[in-house]
């Protein structure tokens, strides 16, 4: 309960700062709309916002799901084979040197203006954190457990399945928590580059028409969704972290 109260207090402080900034600078509302104005727009355009929010949420959730599965499978594959690590490891690091923003136009070219390119964008942006943090946990030595398992006659594959993977699930959980924050960024970048629906598209549209209040409203919806998604993933992965 005190957590909720702290959250409400923190939100109030944010709103107060925002309103203060509007008063002090005296900027016109098409440059910096106040909280009251944005709240009004939020309510008036709720149907429009909801429609676009649903599209973005779908992109994010599908990207998150696929990215998690692919990331986890890659981490397991890499953990199982030293040769794969030598071969693919540098490639993985190199892929991180390519700015994801620069990939967005390519993905739009390949996957079209619809859902596909945004899902791909979200997937790519979360793939590395999921793979890296799960792999890192999988490669932690646990020498004593593995020694015992070898004495028991366990094959490397079974040791991986029965000991290394369960022991590394907290690492996967850490990756997922990061992914929950990154995935919406990926989807919105995808929408900026080329889309006809989604919150990112709506923000560009509102910006172009000097409807700054609608842009803020879309931004708030996106932020609230991201926070809720992060909280949900946090809660869902808690059992994985409370294992030892």
């Amino acid at each position: 309960m005190s957590g909720l109260r702290a959250l409400a207090a923190s939100a109030l402080l944010g709103l107060a700062l925002w309103q203060g900034l509007v008063w002090v600078t005296g900027l016109p509302r098409f440059i910096l709309p106040g909280p009251a104005r944005v709240a009004e727009t939020l309510w008036q355009s709720r149907a429009l916002l909801a429609e676009h929010a649903l599209v973005t949420m779908a992109e994010v959730l599908i990207g998150l799901g696929l990215g998690t599965v692919l990331g986890a499978l890659s981490a397991i594959g890499l953990a199982a084979s030293a040769r794969a690590r030598r071969l693919v490891g540098p490639l993985l690091v190199f892929s991180q040197a390519v700015p994801v923003f620069a990939l967005a136009p390519l993905l739009t070219l390949w996957f079209g203006y619809g859902l596909g390119s945004k899902v791909a964008m979200a997937l790519i942006i979360i793939f590395f954190p999921v793979t890296a943090s799960f792999l890192d946990a999988l490669m932690r030595p646990h020498r004593d457990w593995q020694g015992l398992a070898r004495v028991m006659g366990g094959s490397p594959a079974r040791i991986l399945w029965h000991i290394r993977i369960p022991a590394a699930l907290p690492g996967l959980a850490t990756g997922l928590r990061l992914a929950a924050v990154y995935a919406p960024i990926g989807a919105v970048i995808g929408e900026w580059v080329g889309a006809s629906r989604g919150l990112g598209y709506l923000m560009l549209l509102a910006n172009g028409r000097a409807k700054t209040d609608l842009m803020f409203a879309a931004l708030i919806v996106l932020a609230v969704f991201t926070v809720l998604l992060h909280a949900a993933v946090n809660r869902a992965t808690r059992p994985l972290l409370a294992r030892d």
Binding site: R143, R158, H162
Partner: protein, 248 residues
């Protein structure tokens, strides 16, 4: 369980160029308890790990294994000071880990029997975090018994327990591992004096073989002969210590 073999280790071991032991010759009789007593860092655990096939960074030259010439692999079970229970599995899951690692199903009747034997029948569904230190070590013993191996290597399995749990665990372990070839590594003279059919003291000056008083193990802790043996073991440990030599 196959017939319990005798074990032997003869040779030298080094770790990163540093000699751990040289010209060592250890014989472990079949089907009996041998206690390997010695100070920390003398290489007792390394010896045990060599027998378990877990040499790690140690380079060993010589003979190490069963005296019958067949490989020890698949005939050894290991139990250490750290219970090594997997925190995400309950007691039953931990006890049957070996079977799962070999891709088999554990015999449920045997599991019930073993859990009852170590007194954990009512705690089969508890996670290690919910158990006391003594209960955790009993779960580790259950896992060792489920393996049903002819050779059991014990690496100070009781040293983290309080005096009462330790005495109980010693008796329970001695009882349940009867007929197997057991090598117990310990730094506690009292433990060696109670449990060894044969006691080998490993010091800086090499191995000392001692014949304990006859009779079944575990010996009563208050027995005069046991206490005398315990004092004798302590004396060997102190006499062979490098600082004692420098001072004396």
């Amino acid at each position: 369980m196959s017939a319990a073999p005798a074990l032997e280790v003869t040779g030298r071991a080094e770790i990163a160029g540093r000699t751990l032991f040289e010209d060592l010759s250890l014989q472990v009789p079949a089907g009996r308890w041998t206690c390997l007593l010695g100070p920390s860092g003398i290489g007792k655990s390394t010896l045990l790990r060599l027998l378990a096939g877990l040499a790690g960074p140690v380079t060993f030259t010589g003979r190490c294994g069963a005296a019958d010439g067949t490989p020890l692999q698949g005939r050894v079970a290991l139990m250490a000071q750290d219970d090594l229970l997997l925190p995400w599995l309950d007691v039953a899951g931990n006890a049957t880990l070996g079977a799962r690692l070999r891709g088999r199903r554990a015999d449920p009747a045997r599991l019930d029997h073993v859990l009852a034997q170590v007194g954990l029948a009512d705690l089969a569904t508890r996670r290690p975090a919910e158990l006391s230190g003594g209960q955790r070590q009993r779960a580790a013993l259950a896992r060792t018994l489920m393996e049903d191996r002819a050779v059991v290597l014990l690496d100070e399995p009781f040293s983290a327990l309080d005096a009462r749990s330790r005495a109980r665990m010693q008796e329970l372990t001695a009882d349940s591992l009867q007929g197997r070839t057991v090598l117990l590594v310990t730094h506690d003279p009292a433990e060696a004096a109670r449990l060894g059919h044969r006691i080998v003291v490993m010091t800086e000056r090499g191995l000392h073989d001692l014949a304990p008083p006859p009779g079944p193990v575990p010996r009563p802790a208050g027995d005069a002969a046991t206490l005398r043996l315990q004092a004798e073991l302590l004396e060997i440990l102190r006499r062979d210590a490098p600082t004692a030599r420098a001072a004396g």
